[in-house]
């Protein structure tokens, strides 16, 4: 390996991961964990926009696209919430503190949060789709005067699968913030809402003409949520979705994430509903 060059900023290659250390692993639910990473060698982390993602590489196992779920104003660390659903995600959440993870990115388009200044921000999250929306909430709460009402509508499968419970409880107490949580299947001890996330709309006091809606979750949930928002009077270009497809490179070379004419990795993952609407109903696109 004599001929190999150690990567430096001078020979930047978007395919080359940078080493980070695991600072903390927090169990959110039975299968979901939040990882906090810090750059090694005193290197800073690249700033990110809410909604962007990184490629996280586990030595010898593989690489995954994971949305950044942390606070964009915290420049020293990168935070990811990962649901363990397969070999690669499993190995990612099983890292111990101090271990190394390779990070590429941040990649992709973020939520157009600055367009929401002076308007209400409506966050509609389903399941693990809450992760890429959490940075939006941090941004709004840090700059409370810049934005109107913050409405957080969050659906999960069951009460056991709710993420960020402590923060949800804290956000309820913030000014001009409405937090509504629902589950698909409530146990008998659950005293919250039961039903899909769209059933929360009627409680949300939405002001469609002066709001931006950001939704992330299972594709079918976003499809119904966006359609319902449109029925309520939201303009299509004021509704944003974060899409998911298989990704290998994150920079438009590998071809995997194509969605009609779009590359989810570089044209997205955040798209306005007016662009997505014609594609969402195409089966096996």
């Amino acid at each position: 390996m004599e001929e190999n060059k150690v990567a430096t900023a001078a020979n930047f290659d978007p395919m080359l991961p940078q080493p980070y250390s695991v600072l903390q692993v927090v169990k959110e639910t039975a299968d979901t964990f939040t990882l906090t990473l810090q750059a090694r060698n005193g290197a800073g982390t690249a700033p990110f926009e809410p909604g962007q993602f990184s490629m996280l590489w586990v030595f010898g196992v593989g690489e995954l696209p994971i949305s950044i779920s942390g606070d964009p104003s915290d420049l020293g660390r990168l935070v990811y919430t990962v649901r363990s659903v397969g070999e690669a995600t499993n190995s990612l959440v099983n890292r111990e503190v101090g271990e190394a993870i390779g990070v590429r990115g941040p990649f992709g388009t973020g939520w157009p949060i600055h367009q929401a200044e002076g308007r209400d921000v409506v966050v509609i999250a389903g399941g693990i789709g809450f992760a890429p929306l959490r940075p939006v909430i941090y941004e709004v709460l840090h700059n409370r005067k810049k934005y109107g009402r913050l409405v957080i509508l969050y659906g999960a499968r069951s009460p056991r699968e709710l993420l960020y419970r402590k923060e949800l409880a804290a956000w309820v107490r913030q000014n001009d913030t409405q937090v509504l949580v629902t589950v698909d299947y409530g146990g008998l001890s659950w005293r919250g809402h039961v039903g899909v996330v769209t059933t929360l709309f009627k409680y949300a006091r939405l002001q469609p003409a002066r709001s931006l809606a950001f939704t992330c979750g299972p594709e079918i949930m976003m499809r119904f949520a966006a359609r319902e928002l449109e029925n309520l009077g939201f303009a299509r270009e004021n509704i944003y979705l974060s899409m998911e497809r298989n990704m290998k490179c994150a920079v438009g070379f590998c071809g995997h994430c194509q969605y009609g004419p779009h590359f989810i990795c570089k044209d997205g993952p955040v798209f306005s509903y007016d662009k997505m609407r014609p594609l969402l109903e195409k089966y096996e696109l």
Binding site: N4, V6, N11, D13, G60, A100, F253, K266, E284, L285
Partner: protein, 385 residues
């Protein structure tokens, strides 16, 4: 015909062409050209003119490729084989990185070594178009693919005008051939007869002109140039396969649910041959390997195909689980969404996907089937069947 270049065309003998390889070697190029291997004409390192497939041609049809003897000694008397130059520019397997782990320390090493400077000998018009297409995909955006960029940079291209066509060719429909137009350093037109074997050569770049000047040369006489042009015209007139590309993007986008996709899915084996032989298909996957001690790991990038089940896998299952959806993705991407993404068609009309399809699926026929079924009787006279 590009009138301006006529006067600059010169003539090379067979011996002088041998000299071309020497000149390229002297300039530090590894020369890659056609040669016969495993019953096909493939691209690999050539050291001398005798490595080239003199006297061979390829007989092609849907699902068929055979080498045949010619009754002359033409060096470029074949059309296109299963390989294309992406073998060198966008390799089938390349190591992206190597890494070492000791305890909690991790060293990630960029694995890219400087590839040799290469000269490509025998690049066809459709292949030049394919290289231009891959340039737009891998160099033309926010990010540059460093693997491709380092191989592409400084390539010396000796193009060859086709003087015969295969029944699978449809470059005339795609506007890419058979005459080379740009993107080359030197372009050859081979003239071979009972008592002569010579090459009309024209330079397409300053580097090409320099090399051309180094070769012993004579200006090609008017009648020789006319013979060369006629030979290319003859190839053009041999091309019978057509693809009507009028509004093809809208045609395919609006026929997402066309029953023809079910029809083609019944024949398609989803074997991925078409994507492997296609000179513009660029999709890749990444594989991680590590040694048994767990201290060394590597990441390899390999060609992938949208015909595989795993290609569109996200947790829970594949987005395109049916063969129908995968064929539709390949063809719609190639001919329609490619235009949105990169400003041109992804198809250059080389016909490889037709020849190398084990069941003989013909992309031009699939387009025609969709177009004709959706064209009103009034318009059907404009078809090209």
């Amino acid at each position: 015909m590009d009138g301006a270049s006529v006067a600059e065309r010169s003539l090379l003998t067979l011996q002088q062409l041998e000299h071309l390889i020497l000149v390229l070697h002297r300039r530090g190029y590894e020369v890659i050209g056609p040669l016969v291997r495993d019953g096909a004409i493939v691209y690999d390192v050539v050291d001398r003119l005798s490595d080239l497939p003199a006297g061979w041609t390829d007989e092609q049809e849907a699902g068929r490729y055979r080498l045949q003897r010619r009754n002359d000694g033409a060096l470029f008397g074949y059309v296109v084989g299963p390989q294309s130059w992406k073998k060198y520019l966008h390799p089938g397997e390349v190591r992206l990185l190597a890494a070492e782990r000791h305890g909690q320390t991790l060293r990630i090493l960029n694995n890219e070594t400087t590839p040799p400077r290469r000269a490509f000998l025998g690049v066809r018009a459709c292949e030049l178009a394919a290289i231009a297409v891959q340039d737009r995909v891998l160099l033309g955006d926010r990010y540059r693919d460093s693997v491709y960029a380092s191989r592409r940079e400084g390539i010396f291209i000796v193009a060859v005008n086709c003087t015969q066509a295969a029944p699978t060719c449809f470059c005339t429909s795609m506007g890419t051939g058979p005459r080379v137009r740009s993107g080359y350093d030197l372009a050859l037109t081979e003239l071979v007869g009972p008592d002569k074997h010579e090459f009309v050569v024209e330079a397409g770049s300053e580097a090409g002109a320099e090399v051309s000047r180094e070769l012993a040369r004579a200006t090609a006489a008017e009648d020789v140039c006319q013979q060369a042009d006629a030979a290319v015209e003859r190839a053009a007139s041999q091309i019978k396969r057509r693809m009507d590309t009028t509004n093809i993007r809208e045609l395919l986008y609006s026929n997402f649910d066309h029953p023809r996709w079910d029809n083609v899915a019944q024949r398609c084996l989803t074997c991925a041959n078409c994507t492997m032989v296609c000179p513009t298909c660029f999709c890749t996957t990444v594989e991680d390997v590590s040694d048994i001690t767990g201290t060394h790991a590597q990441r390899w990038r390999k060609w992938d195909s949208c015909f595989t089940q795993n290609f569109s896998y996200i947790h829970g299952g594949s987005v395109r689980s049916s063969g129908k959806s995968r064929y539709r993705q390949w063809m719609t991407h190639k001919l329609a969404s490619w235009i949105d993404q990169f400003g041109s068609s992804g198809c250059v009309g080389c016909g490889r996907c037709i020849s190398w399809c084990p069941v003989g699926i013909d992309i031009t026929e699939e387009v025609r089937a969709i177009r004709e079924s959706t064209t009103s009787s009034k318009e059907s006279g404009h078809g090209n069947s």
